[in-house]
Structures are given as structure tokens and as C-alpha cells.
Symmetry: D3
Subunit: 297 residues, 6 copies
């Protein structure tokens, strides 16, 4: 049936919500076609050994621990908030996200004009946040007594109505745009691929999870890279190669016309924009770049 997670499959939890489409797209580039089914939380996946279910990122680590699923992708922040750090296997860290590749940060923030300057100043105050447990531990560690209230959504306004908030930001710009000031960073978080401890002990499941991890990392790696090919006159080869990043070993193939060689190399996309003008000046012609699906070193 389509609305169950078969026990015989590797049961994979995918994050719904803001991470959903980037996760599905990443699996697509890794070689797994995941297609959503209308009105169902069970996406179809084109591998008979895998079954998938969409859960909120907040809940995934709990269901991994409860063995509802064997493994899943979720933010490190929610693993911590649920207190599951020691109860799951972290297979690998994955640095994809919608907008930037910065880790998301949970920051303690107050109105710009607030007199509060340090965690100590929160004694006896009210703070709103979505990560209540993590925030309470943070204040306990600092030895301050704070009333931490659970609150969803756009909590900036709460920093004004209450005394402060702990909210998520990638670059800090939304914090500044709301005329808030960051007092401290409580937790930095990236996405993790995690496994249930018992599932990790099952050999075929473990190998499957390791393969998936290799392919996901290969797909993330490929996103930031391009293939570059160019034709170089034999006598300019050294000069051209000197421009390439030293860690790269280019593929050089001899052409029919022996005065020329074809040089091919995989580059960081960011290097490309400095490199191409330099390569052209060094004598390369017919430079092309092409997209990659996967890069496995």
C-alpha cells in the first residue's frame, strides 16, 4: 500500500516546509527521483529499497529515536532542542540551504534601545522562543533565572512586548531590519543526515545510508563546481596550467593536430570568473564550461 512505510525498506524522513523543495531537488541530483503525491505525506521514490515520509524538521529526530523511521534529514538545532544528540547516529553534515550556505544561527536579541547587554541582564525577565529547551539550558548554564515562553512565528515584535527573543537568522540582516540587537548566539546549526542506532547496525541499511550520504555530498559538491575545457597550443601549455589552482590536476589529451592539446579541469564556480579572463590572456581558446551533476573526489 502507498500509505505505509514498509518495514522491509529503509525508511527515510524528509523535512517538509521551507527545506522540502531544496531537499527533493538535492536527492534528484543525487540520483533519486522523489515525486510528491497530492494530499499525501508519502512521496514516491524510485528505489524499491527506500520508502519516504515528510515530517516537519522539528519532529524528525524524535521519530528516528522512536524507530518510526530509520533515518532522516533535519537541522542540528532540532536534534538539540529535542535532546536527541546522543540518541542518534550522525551520518554526515550537509551544507545546502535555500539562500546561503551559512549555518543558521539562533540568536538572543533585544530591542536596540534596551539596556540589556549580556545574558546576566535577563534575570527575572520574559523571553519568547521556539526552542524553549535549548534556551532554558542556555540560561541555566549562565546561572540566570529567566521565564522562557514558547512562541511561534515572527517573534520580532515579541522582543518589544516582552524582554527579548531567541530567533533564527542566517545573516543577521532580518534582526537589524527589525531594530533589534544581538546579545549572543545560542546555537549554530546545519543540516544533518541522522540514523537510528539499531538501523545503523543492520549491514544492508548501513551501506545504503552510506551510499546515500556519498551521493548527497557529491551532488552538493557538484553544485558549486563546473567543468571547464579549452584548447591550448602546446607551447603555451605551461603558462596556462600555471594559472590553474595548484591542487587541480588537469586532464590533458593530445589532439589530432599535434600542435594543440585539450585541457579539461573541474573548478569551483567562484574561481571560474577570475580564471577565464586569465586563461584567455594566457593563450587558451575555445573555452567552454559545463554544468555537473555530481563530484566524488
Amino acid at each position: 500500500m502507498t500509505d505505509r512505510l514498509p518495514e522491509s525498506s529503509l525508511r527515510l524522513g524528509l523535512p517538509s516546509g521551507s527545506m522540502q523543495s531544496s531537499t527533493i531537488e538535492l536527492f534528484g541530483r543525487a540520483g533519486y527521483r522523489i515525486s510528491l503525491q497530492e494530499r499525501s505525506v508519502f512521496p514516491r521514490i524510485d528505489d524499491p529499497e527506500l520508502s519516504a515520509v515528510l515530517f516537519r524538521a522539528q519532529e524528525i529526530s524524535r521519530y528516528v529515536v522512536d524507530q518510526i523511521i530509520d533515518c532522516g534529514l533535519t537541522g542540528y538545532d532540532w536534534v538539540v532542542e529535542n535532546g536527541n544528540e546522543n540518541d542518534v547516529i550522525e551520518i554526515c553534515e550537509l551544507t545546502y540551504s535555500r539562500a546561503t550556505s551559512l549555518p543558521a544561527r539562533w540568536v538572543l536579541a533585544v530591542p536596540e534601545e534596551s539596556p540589556i547587554r549580556s545574558p546576566k541582564d535577563f534575570d527575572g525577565k520574559i523571553v519568547a522562543t521556539e526552542i524553549v529547551n535549548t534556551t532554558r539550558k542556555y540560561f541555566q548554564k549562565h546561572g540566570v533565572n529567566v521565564n522562557v515562553e514558547f512562541s511561534w512565528g515572527t517573534t520580532e515584535i515579541k522582543a518589544r512586548l516582552l524582554d527579548g527573543i531567541v530567533d533564527l537568522t542566517e545573516t543577521g540582516s532580518s534582526i537589524r531590519a527589525n531594530n533589534l540587537r544581538i546579545v549572543d548566539t545560542i546555537l549554530s546549526s546545519t543540516i544533518r543526515f541522522i540514523a537510528n542506532k539499531k538501523a545503523w547496525e543492520v549491514p544492508w541499511k548501513r551501506q545504503k545510508m552510506e551510499n546515500i550520504a556519498m551521493l548527497l555530498k557529491g551532488a552538493i559538491e557538484a553544485k558549486a563546481k563546473v567543468g571547464l575545457k579549452m584548447n591550448v597550443p602546446e607551447d603555451k601549455l605551461q603558462e596556462v596550467i600555471a594559472n590553474l589552482p595548484s591542487e587541480k590536476s588537469p586532464t590533458i589529451s593530445r589532439l589530432a593536430d599535434s600542435a594543440w592539446v585539450a585541457v579539461e579541469v573541474i573548478l569551483e564556480e567562484r574561481q571560474e570568473r577570475e580564471l577565464i579572463p586569465a586563461l584567455k590572456r594566457a593563450g587558451a581558446t575555445g573555452i567552454i564550461t559545463y554544468p555537473l551533476n555530481k563530484v566524488i573526489p
Copy 2:
């Protein structure tokens, strides 16, 4: 003028509706840019020998027969429903679709709790469907007398108000989700590229249609494949090659450093996820995969 199909061109009918964007995208990968024009059923196409018009898939085979268009893409189901199987040339079958690559099936279905078990049990009953003619023929073939009513759209509820429906499904899951039960499959259908018989006799039109068919098939083929390159030490080459599917003849180029060779191969995207971990274990490094536009064997 832009709102006519010039007689001197090859007049192509494209399906509007749910197949429209996947069809335009397929032509794009095949090398034909088709751009919709606001409020017009005549898309622009970047080949002066071609003119295109959007019709509902249901109507295309009829207009091919009437010579309003020379050729078109439509579902086999509608060719059959219109009774045009013998009146058109089927140039090729195309297996693209939005969600899956399964053929669409028209199934006869009843409420789960219905006593009906076989076509015979429909004698004297009412059945709703969008493919009235095909359904009538089906029941005639079984020698049962059924009142077949035409009905659009989400007809599941009709299976409850009437006695049964004939409706479209890819995987059967929407049928089950509505607590219906499949009694029989009436017709399986994929997309076909069909031609008017007279147009097929015109040599330049026929060659053009054959070329389009080759490119469309090449583009569909490419969608399910990737290019893979890797560097292999000369002494591990046999072991690496042994991992590749036997029908593949890899391109092996010697590199400047004679201890290494570059191996390149075209693979099914699905094989890739098993293969990459295996190749890495066999000694390959610098494995990359890249997307393809077209594969013509």
C-alpha cells in the same frame, strides 16, 4: 499572419492542458524553442518550416484526420476514443509524462463495498466516464447492457451515486484513496506522435516528421541518462571496467601522465547510484557526472 497555420509549413498539433508544459519542455530539449503567446493558441516556434497550434489532447487525432493539422502529439486513449486508430500514421511512441513513466490506465472501478466483481455484473447499471465510446465498446465486447453516461472531471463520487466509473489512473493510488476498487483495466495509453496519411506521403514532410521523432526520442532518452567521467590508474582499469554494465563500451583516453587513463561512459541515471560507490571502491577517483540533452544510439 500569426493566427493562421500556413499551408506551406508542417502543421503540428500540441496538446494543451496537463501535458502542455512537459511537451514544450521536451521540444526544447530536442532543439525546438516553442514560446507561448499570450491569449493565442498559436505558439511561436523557431523553425520556419514548422507551425504549431495548441488543441486539447482529446481533439488532436480528429483534426489530424480532418487535415486541419499534418501531425500531432496526443494520448493513445484519445486516438482510440475518437475511433481514429486506422485513420492516422503512428510515427512513434513517446514515454514522457509529468509524474511517472508508467502508461496511464483507464480503469473500471466501483465502491469498495459494492457487490460488483466483474464486467458481467454491470448488466442494467449506469456507468459514468469521459471515454464513452471506448467504454461502450468494452461492454459490448463482454455482451453486457450498460447505460454509459458522459461525465467530466472528478468522477470518483459518481462511482457512489451511480454504479461505477471508468477513470484515468497512473498508479491506482487515487482510486484506492477514494475507497474504490478496480474491476478491470479498459485501456492502457502512452503518448503517440501521429500523422495524417496524406501528409506522410509528402517526402519533405515525412523526412521532417522522422527527424522530429528522432530528436524527441533522443531527448527522452537523455533525461534518464547521465555522462560519467573518472580517472583510473592503468593497473585498476580492468577491475573498474568490470563494474560497468556490460553493454556499455566506455571511451578510454590516455592522459599525459601515462600511469592514468580517463574513462567516460553514458549510464542510466538509476544505475549511477549503485555504480558510483562501487567504482570508487574499485579505485576510480575524480568521478564526475554531467547532464545530457540528447542521446541518439
Copy 3:
């Protein structure tokens, strides 16, 4: 701060509105990731030497002249309408656009049934347009006295309420669809990358702008091209090569099996659809095409 254009950076103006997403996509293929920030006109760009701001295409050349920005992309039409042709440096012309690669034309149009046939017939009439200055100069050049009124948006109806309009069209089809008739073309326009004259004199800024221009042109070039690879038996090589456009010098690499060679070439995407069937007939097998990110000749 995120809401300023730092003086120390190269300040780049990008067109908001209908050209916005195609411009950002073009920069993406050129190697610059531009990400919009909610509620901000300052997109993030992954090059610390660059800062960007979104302005309407209509305003960009004015802000280049005022040195609010160092350079920008905008239509030639708005450079002319603002009277800035001689006040900016045109770095390069760029022929990307959403629908077609035709230059946009501003045409003088009247209702089909109007007696007006030439610019002279507009003497004493009222004409509505968004490019008031350009239209006034046009009529002055023809020595006719016309009341040119500023008007936004869908001005076709104004051609009926007033005496005529000057409006934008790519192919003329929207004009005909409104039962209007083109009397004359006032101005043809493509997109230009323009610079402030003082910024152009700063060496690092100039080199940066030249590099950006090279990469943008390379990305536009790549959009219309594909890479093609095929395997050819040694004895058919001449015949296959004879089919390739003469200006192309293919890369030919010898394979392990010495009876075959691998041929690789970069083609116009439009040639491909004629070429592939011909190459196959000439003996090529295993033909694949793949997408390109950038082509720098």
C-alpha cells in the same frame, strides 16, 4: 550594513520588473550568484568587490550619470529617452530577453481604419506614449507639431481615444491583435551594459567591468549552443566531418580501440536538429549532446 552601496565596491544597477529574473539568471550562468532579499532592493551578490541595487530599467542610466551607481544593465531605449547616450560608456550590447532575441521596437501606431498614413499626417493631433522625449524629437525631426502626452501601461485603447500611440512591440503581433496599424518605427532597442565615465577611468573597476562583460557574453553565447560528442569509425571520419559547419574545428581524440575516434564539437543549438540526423546517416554512433554554461571563443 546591508542597505547601502559601499563606495569601495563596484556598484552595479540591475533592472527590476520584467527583465529582473532573466538578468539574475544570466548573472548566475556567468558565475555570479545574486539572491534577492525579501523587502530589499539590495540583492546579495557573492563577490565582495561587487554591490548591487535594483532600479527600474527606466531610471538606471540616470543614476549611472549621477554616480549613484558605477554601471548597470538597461535598455538602449531608456538611455535615449533620458538623453544619456553621450554621458555614459557603453561596455557591450547583450542580446538576451524573455521571449525572443529580437530587438524591442517602439512603433508609432494608429487604429487600422485611421486615415493617417505617415508622420506628417499627425500635425495637430494627440499621441500618447511612455517615451515622451524620444517621441517629441521624432516629430520635431519630421517638422510636425504634435501634442505628445505621457501615458503608462496598455495604451492600445488610447490609439482609439486619442489619435495614435508610440508603444513597445517585439514582433508586431500585439499591435495587430489590437487592430492597430504601424505607421513607423521610432526606435529599436537591445539591452546595454553601461558605465559611468569616471568609474571607467578607475583601472580596477574597468577591468572588473570588462571581465563581467566577457562572462555575460560567454553565458549568452552558451545558451544558444550545445556540446556534441560522437564515436566515428576511422574510415568514416572524413565523411562525418564534412557534415560539420566549416568554421568548427572539432576535437578528435583517439580511443583505445584504434578503429574508432571520438569527435567533439560545439554547435549552435539550431544546427543540431539538422545535423544529428545527417551525422547518423554518415556513420556516427553514440551521439550525445550536453548543455553548456559558458562559451568564450
Copy 4:
């Protein structure tokens, strides 16, 4: 259960699609709250004796005949197209619609430049329409042999690709806007409340349907009317009353201040805009108008 039409209730078919929201709104003003339920064709209705189901207007008369429902609202055109005129009871005609109160017309139309001038000229031609049966009968009546093809949706373009269309219009303006010319009107249609013949014979069902008809008509009537109150000095009463439409008998109540009377009358909303200025000139003050829910004469 909510997904059945209980046999013991009066089963009412409501038109889905373009008439749906105006029908539900009309029932609301008539005193029946109908609330849609997500993903269900069975709206909830706040009268335990009534059950409702949404069907396409095209199908309602067929299901009334088949006794799937007892009564329903649909267009007269679809009653005719289904050949059900004599098989159902027409309880009343209802003149509500989304845009105008004109009856919808099905017109036979051709391109403006077509030589066709009368039905006779269609001999041997192809005509596309959604009302195939009605159109065939029309041409049979005129003794012409026409190939009538079924076609959905925006069929204007078909008038150009084929020889003509039969399409729906309220004012004819969409026809003219597409440069078509009306040759003849095939059928005029308003909405009808129809009943199954057997259901009509059941006394409580009949009385219920008659009550519904009265309330629906009262609600339609009220939409075009307003209540008007004003204060009039006793000595101007005759003059004020002379301005009122003669068929109206105003309610005149004596006030505490015996020099004044309060006059109240129900008016067509259209009369109001002429009347109010006239009443004010005749001496009325404190004129107010108020909306009505229902008017039963």
C-alpha cells in the same frame, strides 16, 4: 454519513463551476446557508430535510431524469442539449447570473471575412461546438448537411481553423472582439429550477420545492430593489407622492410632530437614482435607502 444523498431528504443538485458561487450566494439570501466542504461535492446545508450535491450544469438534468437527485438548478440550454425538456418539471425560471441579467445566447458565428451569410451556406462544412445535439438539430431543421464536431473551451480560434462555431455569449461583445460575425442565434437560455416528475408527485417534496422557488424568487427580486424612507411635511405629501411610481403604495406613518409624516416605499434600485434628486426637490428630507434580503409581492 456525509457522502451520501439520504433517500429521505429532498435531494438538490447545484451547478458547480461558473454558476456555483452565485447560486450559493442566492440560496444564502433566500435563507439557506450552504457551506462547501473541502474536497467534497456534498455541501452542507442547514435544513435537515434538504441534501445537496454539486454537479456540472451540463449534467444536472440527466441526473434529475435518472432520479439520482429530486431537483436542481441548471441552464435551459443543457436541458435542451440533453434532450430532457419533456422529461422534467420546470418549477420556475430564475434570472440571476454573474455579470448581466440577459439570457445567455448560443450563436452560430463565422470569421468576419467569411462568405457565409446564412445557415444554408454551411452545407458540407465543419462546425465546432459544445452543444452538438442542439446544433445538429438546428441544421437538420434547416435541411443542411453539416459536420458538427464536439469542442471544449475557447472555440473562437476554431471558427478560423474550421468553418464556424456555435458558442455562448451574453452581449455579443466577445464575439466581436474576436472578429467573428453572428450568423444566427440557435438558443436563448436562462437558469431553471427543475424537478423529477415522480418527486413532484410527492406532496411534501412538492411543497418544499414550491417554498424554495418562492424564496429564491424573493431573493432575486430583493437584489434589484431597495427600501426608501423619508420625512415629508404634511403639506408637501401630495407632491412627493406624485413623484413615486404609480404602482407603488407607500406606507405613510404619522409622527409625533403632526406636521410631518414618514413615508416608506420599496423601489427598483434603478429608479432610485432618478427619484432621489426629484424627491429632494419636492420637499422630502432625511432620505435614506436600505438594502433588502427578500421581496415577496
Copy 5:
């Protein structure tokens, strides 16, 4: 400033989310215009003594207790879940909602095929819900040990992956549509207007809250009622009045024409549809009904 709740005003918390627009509409009919301000949680309200803020219904009772706001509208369920029943004043109960006027019910549900029949059967099981505290208390009261997990959103699927859910339903139909079975009702809930205990002691605040409560109830009352007027011949007055619900005392005004009287009465909208046909049969004419804004008994 607009982004504060002034201490000197009565600070009112309004529920955001699914109840937001019906609440604003209710206040509108009660005489308070509340207008949302883009990107702000502080709606503008046209009474200088009132200030408003939008919070999630889940949080409102907590902020009433914390004195962030003086009063607010929220569901009784969230007052209970937050454990605030005894910490706030309940000013009045309000029975408006989007779809029905039924109280919302939180029900304990399991898959239809589950062997679980009573709360006792949950011993050792996992249950997902949004109201964790209330659910835990419920099971404690029954003396069963259940692992209650917090879960957002469409939790029906969780009833299958875990052992059961506690979810919200108005009519139970969404539960049945998901093939779940209700084991018990945990909590019934309507909307409440609640106050902080200290604010309730401030005389002007208390009077203001009581006035608001009166107007809100008057507006809710009016929604279900209509005004009805009719003209009745003097000699039929008793018969007509006999048809009216006995608790209604109609306003009878004598008209100029002494043979007729005008009768006016306020009715439940639901009575109207039975009454109007009866009144007409009893001799009333010129029956009109009109909408009401407010009814204060």
C-alpha cells in the same frame, strides 16, 4: 508610536490565523473598524481608548495572565491547554466561527482498523497531538500511561504511524474521511472573551470590556436574524400574528389607509423560510426582509 500598546489604553489581543478575518469582521459589525497594517501585528482600531495586537490563539491567554494585554479573544481549548482557566476572567462566550456554529471538539482518534476501543487500551502507546498538556491530564485521569508527543498540523497520518492522535474537528467528517475512528471527545471548545484579573478591577476598563461584550453579542445575534415587514389587512391581523413565533412581540403601526396595518418583527433567519410561505397564505402582502447589524434584546 504605532508599534507599541499604550499603557493608557485597553489593550486587546486578537487571534491571528484561521479566526482572524471572522474576528475582524465581527468587530466591524459590532461598530469597531479594525484595519490591518501591512507587515505589522498592530491593527489600527478606530477607538482611541483601545489598542490591539494580533497573537496566535494558542498564546493569548498566557499574555493576558502576564499582563502584556488586558483582554483578548481565544478558544477555550487554549485557555485550558495553557492551564489558565483559573487565572483569567471569562467575560463572555461567543459562538461565531468560520463554517459552523458547532463547538470545536478535540477528539482522540485511531485508524478504523485499530483494535483500540477505549482510553484504557492506550497503555504503553504513543499519541500525537497539539494539546500535549490537556491530553496528558486526560490519560492521567484514566490512569493510563501514554507517551504523548507534540505534533503540528495534519496529524491524521500520525494516527497510522503512531497509535493515535488527539485532533480538532467540528463535525467529525474530516476524521471519517481519513478512515479514522473517534474513541472519545477530550475537550469541547468555543471562543471566549477573557480578561486579566487586575484589569477587570479597573472600573473604566471593566465598563469598556462589558460594552464590547454587549456589542459583540449583539452583532452575533444579528447575524442569525432578519427584520421582516409586511402589510396586513386589519381583518386578517389575528391570523397572521398567530403564525409568528409566540415569544415575538411585533411592532404594529397604523397606516393612513385604516383598513391596513404594517407589521414588523425580528425573526431567526431559519424561521423565515417556513414563515414567509405561511404568512403569504394567511393574507400578508408586500413582505420584505432586511439585514440587521446588531440585535440587543
Copy 6:
């Protein structure tokens, strides 16, 4: 034809854009049904003597002066910006708007941290605005030399890139939310109904425009008012009446039961919420309020 403004009608210009739907709704309450026609700027209007066209508010006064239309509704700001104050007749001022009834203000604003404090400080600076002419006149009046640049849309950011802006605000809150500071108000504006001077001299056109003005004002007036009815014991009548605003003369009708009177009065909606509790305390019962369409004093 539907796409012309007949010379024989009163040609009315309605503002498209943000004022469009509130204007059409206002005309609706005034007694004129205006229905938009898809893809047409000519709305249908149910008065054969009237024809209407939608123009941008910015352009309407110019077309009134040019006699393209006889009259129109537009903002006073655009009449001034176009320099048409003395060229049109102002029939009446209308105070409807989407959000508030405050006049819109065009304010000169600078970043909060800017040293600019008065108009004089703008000497030699650049200011961006949509009302270039009005802004230039303003600075000329103050004798300062400012470069006023035309700019559309969200110009707040321009206050930071340039030196200041002149932008529209109703309450000033959007200005503050962008951390800008208001230096001066340049122009206050409400909506005006204006006429062409020649059309005003045509008697039937003038009377028609005056009637429309009366009905529009009556409809605006009604929006802010409600009708209130209550039953009052004869002996409490004076006390109840004493609570009513003194300028109101209530309609008092004697009832059948002579111990009671019915009191009816038209009130400002804002008064109602103070009055109803007071009236109830004074002895009134059966208080109802009802909505009004039009109030003509």
C-alpha cells in the same frame, strides 16, 4: 460598439489601480452597477446616458481638459501635478478611500540620521518623487535650487541613495517604519469629482453630474451611519431621547400597545457603540441596528 465612448452620452473617467474597486463599489451603493469587462478598459454601466472608461488617476484630469471625457474621479494631487486646477470644474469633494478617511499627504522626507531639517537645507541636493512638477514648484517657492528626479514606486530606499524623497502617506507610519523623518508636507489630497468646463455648460450633462454627485455623497454618508430602532416605554421616552445626539430628530411612531413607542434614528456608526449601552440602561429594549445604502440630508 462597446469599445467607444459615445458622444451622445455623459463620458465618465474612473480611476484604475488602487482606487478602482472602491470607486466601483461606491457607484454600486449610489445606484449604478458598473461591471468590468475582461480585457477592456470600458466597464459596462447600467445607465444608457452614461459611458465609462478606466484611466490611471494620474491621467484623468488631462483627459477631462482635452475633452476625451466629460468628467471623472481623481485625486486632487494629480489635478495639481498636471497643472489643471484652473482648467476643470470641481463638482464635489469625496472622502472615501481604501483604508482610512484621512486625506493622503505628499511629504518631503529624509533618512532619520540626515542633517537636513528644513526645505532650505536641500540646496544643491537630489530629490526623487512621482510628482515632479509640484515638488519643483514647492522648492521654487522656498527659493532653493534642487535637482528633482522622477521616480516610480517604493521610493523609500531612494531617500537613502539620494538626499530625500517626496512620497505619499496616509498616517506617516510607513515613513517611520522605513526610518525616515518628515521634513514638510507638500500637498494634502482627497478625491474630487471634476468636470470639463464645456460639458458643465450643457444643461442635461450638468444636471446629470449634479445628481451623480448627490448620490455618491449620499452613499459615502451612509457608509458611516446606521439605522437604529428600539422600543421605549412611554414614561422613559424623555430619558432615552436625552441620550441621543441633539442634532438628531428621531422618528417616533405610536404602537398598538399605547404604553410603548417605537423610536427610530439615523446615527454615526461610531456613536452607536457608546449609545447602545446607554440606551439600554435608560430603558430601551429590542434595540436593533441595520445597514444603510444612502443618506441624503
